[in-house]
């Protein structure tokens, strides 16, 4: 096992880097898209609410692999060449944004209605009330579920292995094929995933307890 680590270290490390990079990009992207669709879902207008929930339901109920592969195969046919990393990250962003939309919506709903009324009664506009009163409180509630979404992102980024995205899973699989040392390789790859996900998941559990 030490032999694999010492001889394959550069590719493992670059795989880990790509996994982290992809997860961070997808987290930022899906936060923006997710918050946007969450706001659509709580709109006053029925048509806008429907648009929001159709988006969320569609992306929640289709496997991530199907979404990522579709981008990987279809975009080059009509638009431009796209790397596996880009296609995978876009797929991951869209898929996760549907879950984040639900999280943000639940967070906004968890803030008491009186808070908004109070803000409006004090002369704030709806936009100001959202920005200064509602969202800061909602954000506090949704930090643990968002952290869990990030853990899911890191795990789900392994789908990049299907589209040659050079992530940790892809590199690990290559090493396993080359060296035929499958168990030690998967063991190392597993530990590298756990280094990111496990502390985060314990910290989120700690935060959840503190907030509850």
């Amino acid at each position: 096992m030490l032999e694999i680590i010492s001889s394959q270290w550069p590719s493992l490390l670059s795989g880990l880097w790509n996994t982290i990079l992809c997860s961070v990009i997808a987290l930022i992207g899906s936060l923006i898209i997710g918050t946007f669709f969450a706001l659509l879902e709580i709109s006053k207008y029925k048509v806008i609410r429907i648009i929001g929930s159709v988006y969320v339901e569609v992306f929640r109920n289709i496997p991530l692999l199907v979404i990522a592969m579709a981008f990987f195969l279809i975009v080059p046919m009509y638009f431009t060449k796209i790397s596996g990393f880009t296609a995978g990250t876009i797929g991951l962003t869209l898929y996760t944004s549907a879950f984040i939309a639900e999280t943000v919506r639940a967070g906004i709903n968890s803030v008491e209605a009186g808070q908004l009324e109070g803000a409006l009664a004090n002369g704030l506009t709806t936009g100001q009330a959202m920005r200064y009163i509602i969202l800061p409180q909602a954000f506090k509630v949704i930090i643990p579920p968002l952290g869990n979404q990030f853990i899911n992102l890191v795990k789900n980024s392994s789908v990049l292995a299907f589209v040659a995205g050079f992530d940790l899973m892809y590199e690990g699989n290559m090493i396993a094929n080359d060296t035929l040392q499958t168990i030690p390789t998967y063991f190392i790859v597993g530990i590298m995933y756990l280094i990111i996900t496990l502390p985060l998941s314990y910290y989120m559990r700690h935060l959840e307890k503190k907030l509850a």
Binding site: I74, M169, G172, I183, L194
Partner: protein, 217 residues
């Protein structure tokens, strides 16, 4: 448009439906296995048995924080390295069960924790044993709280079966790949079909979750 008409020939549609059937079979088998194992593990973790609960809990946390794909690789390509060589379908069910049991265990544990401890105290005061209290008083109430989370976990399981294409499990995704592999004009029609088929299965499950949530609470 012609591509769509050609792609959805009866032969292809039947081939996709065969894949969908395997997807459903694998999902149902894994759901049943992981529900049983996950519930047991969840109870063990909740019961705070010396050392056992801590070890089980740590293993659950490890598995929950690994990508499912890695576990699939492990069961199909890893196990033969130590002399166990599972067939494709058992390997897929094994990987899904390992991963989902850990997820279910956490749902079960937090479901049990959501029930007020007074319920257990009351049951014990009425002369029930600890196990009877759990089985007859706490679990039936906890199941109600757990159902929405369980169903959405099983929706992820259905979606996750698609990852098993990597070990050539002949499920829906793999059958679609075979079809568009023969004719690249079929790529878009196949992805549309995949999206629709997975959506129908998963969305019906989420409607079921909503129904249960509504009628049992």
């Amino acid at each position: 448009m012609q591509n769509f008409i050609d792609a959805y020939s009866w032969v292809n549609v039947r081939f996709l439906l065969q894949g969908l059937w395997i997807t459903i079979e694998i999902s149902v088998a894994s759901i049943i296995c992981s529900f049983i194992i996950g519930t047991l593990l969840g109870i063990i973790r909740y019961e705070k048995i010396h050392y056992v609960s801590a070890i089980v809990g740590f293993i659950i946390d490890l598995i929950r924080n690994l990508p499912l794909l890695l576990i699939i690789f492990f069961t199909y390509f890893g196990l033969p390295n130590i002399g166990i060589k599972p067939e494709i379908i058992p390997a897929a069910i094994m990987a899904l069960t390992i991963f989902e049991s850990a997820m279910v265990a956490e749902i079960v544990r937090s479901g049990i924790l959501s029930i007020d401890y007074g319920q257990t105290e009351g049951a014990l005061a009425n002369g029930l044993t600890k196990w009877q209290a759990l089985r007859l008083i706490v679990l039936p109430q906890a199941i109600k709280n757990m159902l929405p989370a369980l169903v959405s976990q099983f929706i992820s399981l259905v979606k996750d079966t698609s990852l098993a294409t990597i070990i050539v499990l002949p499920e829906l995704m793999y059958h679609a790949q075979i079809i568009y592999g023969q004719n690249t004009n079929y790529i878009i029609p196949m992805f549309v079909a995949l999206a629709v088929m997975y959506f129908i299965v998963c969305y019906s499950l989420s409607l079921l979750a909503r129904y249960l949530d509504h009628h049992m609470a």
